[in-house]
Symmetry: C2
Subunit: 194 residues, 2 copies
Amino acid sequence: MLRDLLIRNRSYRRFKQRELADKATLLDLVDGARLSPSAGNKKPLKYLLSFTPQRNALIFPCLAWAAYLKNWPGPAESERPAAYIVILRDTTISTNLNCDHGIAAQSILLGAVEKNMEGCIIASVRREQLRNVLNIPDHLEILLVMALGIPQEKVQLENLPTDGSIAYWRDEQNIHHVPKRSLEDIVILPEDEL
Amino acid sequence: MLRDLLIRNRSYRRFKQRELADKATLLDLVDGARLSPSAGNKKPLKYLLSFTPQRNALIFPCLAWAAYLKNWPGPAESERPAAYIVILRDTTISTNLNCDHGIAAQSILLGAVEKNMEGCIIASVRREQLRNVLNIPDHLEILLVMALGIPQEKVQLENLPTDGSIAYWRDEQNIHHVPKRSLEDIVILPEDEL
């Protein structure tokens, strides 16, 4: 059943923009991140929520989309994210972040999938612009923006092509294809246990 | 049901050492990490598996345990981890790691919980010693060691004490207590939506 969530959880970039998420839903996702491990149990992460069309419209221009799709500027109006969770590090709590934001992001994404939403972790963010439009105080470092919503596209997993390229692509039907390395390619076992 | 996994997933440090995990179980956990998001879809992570008493004994001395428990040197013989997954970055694939290892670690931990195992993410690792005992090639950067097994201790969540300390502690019954920040302490909402 976790496997079902892991498989369904793809990086979606086109959403049903008008099917907004409500505050309670986003709080529930953040609570999943809250319950997740943190380096030295410091828990330096804070989560800024956005779930209104007005605030979502402030965040969207701060994001870069799908680096491998050179001719696609990002989701058009009507297919933009319905909500965002901005993951921040409170620098007054800890400088030792390690991979806390990855742990939190994965908990949020799997929680979203369980609620029939999907998301995309965006690290390519115009951080100063985002700080200004959302009035984020200086002691909170902007780490990631999680774009969320009900998906409005198809995403399909593929085996790695023979040239080894990991770049995703879209076909004529606008289906988004994502190559994945095989299990054999990523596992290291001692020779006597292969 | 994800929430159940998130709550049950605590950082355990004492295990039923003799209840070994098998290779198929660990491969299944790594497959969950394989299906998880990766920055730019690069997937630079590799996973070294250890599930025999012999190899586990090589890894254990390379790890530091529970920084806040000053009088506890780590799990005694018989309560040490039954398996390990060492998360590595293939530096020939990508220098842009972002938080991939956190995402992968959380997928592995939640998968372990579903299999009635628990784990602990260990970042305090004697990396050169580990590289030597496991013959890890130089192009693989050691990121994290995941200790895994059937738990042999009780871990209990607590509210943050009034002094704000996030240090975990053990009581006379050897129960491990872990303070967590509240949801209100980590969520940022605009004033008009509080």
